[in-house]
Symmetry: C2
DNA sequence: ACGTTATAGTTTCACTTGTAACCAATTGCA
DNA sequence: TGCAATTGGTTACAAGTGAAACTATAACGT
């Protein structure tokens, strides 16, 4: 297989391929945050995401957590189960619809939230520090477009 | 828990949190490409990545595949095993170092590559079509900075 | 030359994840 | 009212994944 033959097949150059670059960046960033709270609190990324949602929207059902996140319902169900088990989330039953749960962070849950949230924000700041103000704004607006439905 | 109390805890707003947005975007994009080739060729994302690397750099070892990708060696080992098994990759042994494998796409492997690569590129184009020329350039330069080391 | 250390790659085991099937409660409507 | 369809949530099973142990070969230092 000569170089000419390879070129004829027009192989992808991963390092210039947008989906690949996004994937590397996203994994690097998420993983660097996740390792911190995983080590310190034995908290999976899914669990942490559920916690952030319950922090903003207390007293919602698992279904609503699913709707507000990009997670699927099995993942949420399992994360909630672990969180309830660990005493980090209180689960009640909805008045008038016994299928629905009513979820909120417990005291212990809030305590963890209040430690992890600043840590996550610090990572975000650190990342953004590589860009100037203009680039930060551009990135946001570009992501808005790429994420639109 | 009143709204005021919630605010006091300063919960993260996931939809404005950069690592989260990156993660959603990256998963959406990679997944939409992956489902296509998974359905059509029973090819996992890891296998496809190995194939793209072998397309550009034929006759390299598994170790070099690891170095050139962000995958870990176990994942590569398994992907290569499946690819060899499916007759999509030929595996030889390095002259002078019997530990090293020498990998390259087989005819069948190239045939698949030549179908999937344009498909992946089409997805990338489709994504980039939401941005104008300037934004595309900005995104590239921003990703360069964020991905540096 | 010989034992130690390092490297390439595979295997094993425990854990996570995704899909589909499932159960129970609720809704819709004939 | 009663029964089919829908919805919230969990469970079961198969497949995928990661960390560590393992095998075989090679490199290094004395």
């Amino acid at each position: 297989m000569t170089p000419e033959t390879v070129a004829a097949h027009a192989p992808l150059e991963l390092e210039h391929f947008l989906p690949y670059r996004l994937s590397i960046l996203s994994n690097t960033v998420s993983q660097s945050i996740a390792t911190e709270y995983q080590d310190r609190f034995e908290l999976s990324m899914t669990e942490w995401r559920v916690m952030t949602i319950l922090a903003r929207f207390p007293e919602i059902s698992a279904r609503e957590v699913v709707d507000r996140s990009a997670m699927d319902k099995v993942a949420v169900s399992r994360a909630v189960a672990r969180l309830v088990n660990a005493g980090r989330v209180d689960r009640g039953i909805h008045d008038g619809d016994k299928r629905r749960s009513v979820l909120k962070l417990s005291e212990a849950g809030w305590a963890i939230h209040d430690e992890v949230a600043p840590l996550a924000r610090a990572h975000e700041r650190e990342l953004l520090a590589r860009l100037d103000q203009g680039e930060q704004a551009q990135l946001n607006s570009i992501l808005d477009k790429l994420l639109a439905t």
